[in-house]
Symmetry: C2
Subunit: 374 residues, 2 copies
Amino acid sequence: MSTAKRVGELNPPERILMGPGPSNVHWRVYRALSTPVIGHLDPNFLSIMDEISEMLRALFKTQNRLTIPMSGTGSLGMETCFVNVVEPGDEVVIGVNGVFGERMCDVASRCGAEVIRVEAPWGRKIEPDIAIEAVKEHPRAKVMAVVHAETSTGVMQPLREIGEYLSGTETLFLVDAVTSLAGIDLRVDEWRIDLCYSATQKCLSVPPGLAPVTLSEKAVRMLGVRKSKVQSWYLDLNMIGRYWGKERVYHHTAPISMLFGLREALRVIFDEGLERRFARHLEAGDYLKEGLLGLGWGLFAEEGARLPMLTAATVPAGFDDAGIRGRLLGDYGIEVGAGLGATKGKIWRIGLMGETARRHNVDALLSALRELRD
Amino acid sequence: MSTAKRVGELNPPERILMGPGPSNVHWRVYRALSTPVIGHLDPNFLSIMDEISEMLRALFKTQNRLTIPMSGTGSLGMETCFVNVVEPGDEVVIGVNGVFGERMCDVASRCGAEVIRVEAPWGRKIEPDIAIEAVKEHPRAKVMAVVHAETSTGVMQPLREIGEYLSGTETLFLVDAVTSLAGIDLRVDEWRIDLCYSATQKCLSVPPGLAPVTLSEKAVRMLGVRKSKVQSWYLDLNMIGRYWGKERVYHHTAPISMLFGLREALRVIFDEGLERRFARHLEAGDYLKEGLLGLGWGLFAEEGARLPMLTAATVPAGFDDAGIRGRLLGDYGIEVGAGLGATKGKIWRIGLMGETARRHNVDALLSALRELRD
């Protein structure tokens, strides 16, 4: 008790969040977060849920009825998509060209899946024809999964061609849109994506804690014909869908305040407009890449497949990776991300997501890097 | 897009939250929720994590190193405790005297457990000697689980005797403290509890979204000797423990703002003091029960096992359950909970949790009930 009493006032430093998420948050979202709570079965809250689903559909560009925010962070969104459709023994084809493709393999195998990996080197996209070839070799595959925006490498994955092929098969198209949603174009219906998950702390600019997901009718049919119960009670969409749907059957207590925040963030997004928002991300990303090249940095992701909101930049020779990152955070209040796995010490991952994706933040970073180099 | 643009300003009505959670939230917690976000690997955030764990240990009355808030609501806490220690084929003994005991059976069976139910009628506690007898009959049981505060019935479950017996066995003692933590005494170490989970939206008076859990060394040893991987990647404490422990290995992005809120709520709790807080809950609960009896209501839970923070009250004969609850919410801004399952229409579940547990809220409810009766 005495130790607990020693804990002082909450007083975190101000940060420009240019890592791979969380991103900076709009003041209107903070205001929503501190709006007094109402109950999760209050008729007023049920309307708010409907509004959130409706705006998420517009954001995902889908008509999918089952379009909801799951009560956890992005990785919970990933687990939701796998655990609801994969049963022990199912074949699952996964594109692996970074950390999050690897994570999908781990999650799928914990569902009892036979994982078939389609690999590309880190920094390169999965060639669509190779992905399609792998499904042709495994025509009974339940799922083909790829990462739209690989946060570990800055690579953008083309989706349309894979989706078009899969739409003529029994295989479901599963897409990780954690870092892409609300930052670059994503067309769930047009690209024939069956399961898609995201997270709030990237281009939606809500604090971490929610994972929007959407499931096509093809995916929803799979839920209905499962032989076994979904192994996770908390993530069972057969039950959660009845709370978000017309029946309003209580499942778990919804994270009210975070949902207030998400609702406001979606309003902020549609006030700006999707096209303008995508253009802002692209412009900020290009401006950053240009500036980094001018300072002797390289770009890790292959040309033509570089994300605007997450730039993986190779550090110049002789550069003190951890030391400079520490000074950038401590002296300038700027957070950037380190490389993961084999890229540790070799790249930085610089995020320009949601509210952070602004020219003045790029200027602040580049100016600090110039000072720190001198 | 056009539909999304029609969504107006967030403007929920003010509520006195006297249902089974969420409870009303202290203004300091709202202020913390709207504090600007910092990164989940920021050294300042790592200190905040340590402070939260330290305060949670004081609240759970434990020295357990692995004492952390999980990134989801209370039911995710439940799933965390089962999924990390139960492997397919394990025997699990579960006390069932309400909805949440039933839910534990469902969760455990999805982990592949052989569930042995120890039942008591709704409204009665599980007699400790009967629980102990069941474990004696199943000496290889991996877990014996009970609900400390059964939110569906208002029953308080005695724990000490069961914990003392189990401490001399290989069986782990698992306790649901979702509704009890921070409202009545809970002594994890003294009562020999091995796995305990709670939720933030009850007596901690934080909005829903986090699930504090604590594991004894006996439980942590079980994590280490598992034959199979934990079936949930998101809930795998072997990995999450490395983020909350010294190594600080990234697992998933922590829900920063909710953790800010929890930290402040814990400070509010220790500013008040646990004993005073428990006394406040008891006093408010007794005052409510007395008032309800005076209005012709009954008490559903057996005498001697009634919770202070959740009163299950049987509605008077001829009472219009749904109609009056609707008017109470719409005209008075007071939320109470309906009965679940077989008690639907027969009982109300009236919460006095955390900030809500105050005499003036009871007065408001009783006065409204008098008006609505006339």
